[in-house]
Amino acid sequence: MTYEELKHFARRHRTLKDIYHAHRLFATLGDSEAGWIRSAKVALLTSYTTDFIIPLLQTELAISDVRCEVYKPGFNQFRQEILNGRSGLYEFQPDVSIMAFGLEDIIPDAVAKFPMLSDAERQRHKGEVLELCESLVENYTASAASSILFIQNLAVPFATFDPLVRDGRGIDGFVAEVNTGLQGIARRHSNTYVMDYARLVATVGAGHWTDSRTYYTARMPVSQENWLAMAEMYGKYVRGALNMDVKCVVLDLDNTLWGGVLGEDGLDGIAVGDTYPGNVFRRFQEYLLSLFAGGYILAISSKNDHDDVIDVLRGHPGMILREEHFAAIKANWKTKAENIREISQEIAITPDQMLFIDDNPVEIANVSAAIAGMRCLHLQSPPLNFQKQIEEARCISKLTLTEEDRDRGRQYSDERKRREFKAKISSVEDFYRDLKQRLTIHVDHEPHRARIAQLSQRTNQFNMATLRLSEADVGRMLASSDYLLLTADLEDRFGSSGTVVYAQVRKLERSWEIENFLMSCRVLGRGVEDSVMDFVFAEANKAEVEAVFGTYIPTKKNKPFADFYCRCGFEEVEASGSGEKRFGRKVIDHVPRARFVELSVA
């Protein structure tokens, strides 16, 4: 099987036998045959046997084009490895670590005699577990600062006893309190998150989670029946840590967002509302709305008359999704591939970061043949399972929601209104003048720490050096007097676009180095980057340095912006064989270039 066939096979054949088979075949592929996009080093730091998950996790990630290397300390060695800064764990340099322990392994006596414990003893044991966990996390984050750590929360230990009535004093109450404590630990440490193991156990059903045979013979808390579900969850978190999500979901309408065909059944005839089958589509729209609220961009590509679609979006009482939730609405009779290309250009998101979903297999086949790298999902009947099918497409795995995420959908929708406004105005200059853009620059602004890390991870096109930063990396630079970190927020008559520019400047004695300069693509072509560059030079002038230098490192995606420094008046001073270039400009030579942006400093 080829790499693509193998991925397809592993997606479709969800039995242990077939996944082990796929795992072995993936391992035999040469690097030139495989299409790895990312690689990930994952460490499993667990108090119980997790060997079973390694091949399954590797296969799970291979489906998403991630080559995964796994490190696992010897049996029950995970504490020593985390505490010893020179252990094999840190030598491995994990990108992601998953820490998991069972109460039976950490406080076995307390679990065994739980019903006998006094309240004070329970409190003491809880403190003991959380202190242990916190000290492990502290040591880990000190020695592997730029990696991401997941702490698996706890499920109620297997075959323990609780009275029927829940009064908080049973072991289930104890587990719930420890889990709340784990969330506190995660909040106190950067790059540390709780992995919701308890929810997976609950979803599968606690009674089906453990197999007593392997529990007693091999100390294994997870039944073999659930290994794949476990690997799928791990895969989801690792993809989340690697930021591999799509940014935009392009939706078909007929029989996808509602039941029936608008052109034939009319506004009153389509199914979306309170009763079956309309309630199925309504709930599916609620799911899509939650994606919108999570920062995923929604767009429409539908073969319908535009006005009919707008009527439904504005006036159908059963609809959850409305005009304001879409960054682009393409309802016409062009091919979907054409429409998707247009959407991609308009919202500046490349097709490989878009997911196209349609109930019509012919459309899916056409689009995936026409647009390389486009991710396509054929929604299969019945619509009852649409949400599950999207979840299984391995495109959605967001770890946390930033303020920016919550606001992103609205910004793209505003951007659509801007385009519509622009189309009505005769000259580009008039457009920008009427836009009334206001840019606010923040200098070393601690509250932007998470946003800077996110921008560095998400921005692929206008990104001069593509330095991917963790929050901890940003924190170190914010604390250092050697760095000037600039962020810029853009607003105009249609609303706020949020933080859209990040410049990382290293201050040397006689010159400044722009180590990276990036801008969110949705504000391309509005002169924002020029304003920020003017600001850099104004500050450099105040600091009395002689020159400013900037570095461009080419990637697959940032070539269109290779001339950014030249456009700003820089001259090339150095070039390497790999295409990396360094540019420089004397501070006194700089002439401000910004035209349509009103600048202020926060």
């Binding site: 036998k17 079973f52 045979r213």
Partner: protein
Amino acid sequence: MDISNKVREIVADITNNRLSDIDENSGAATTDGWDSVAQINIIASIEMEFGQTFSAEEMQSLDSIQKLIPAIKSHFPQKVA
């Protein structure tokens, strides 16, 4: 595919051996990669594949092709006699 081939394939994939290296004489004692972890994986795969359940004792003791095949057949006497 008959039971024997399917079992050999499972064992080969999990122990990371070529299918041709796994025959009726293969077992934990003689086959590279057939360790205690592989043993659990092999039993788990076979249970899922053939839809049956071994006892905790069998999970540990059925550690060769010669022991596995009759055990699988004995769970389905009427189908695959």
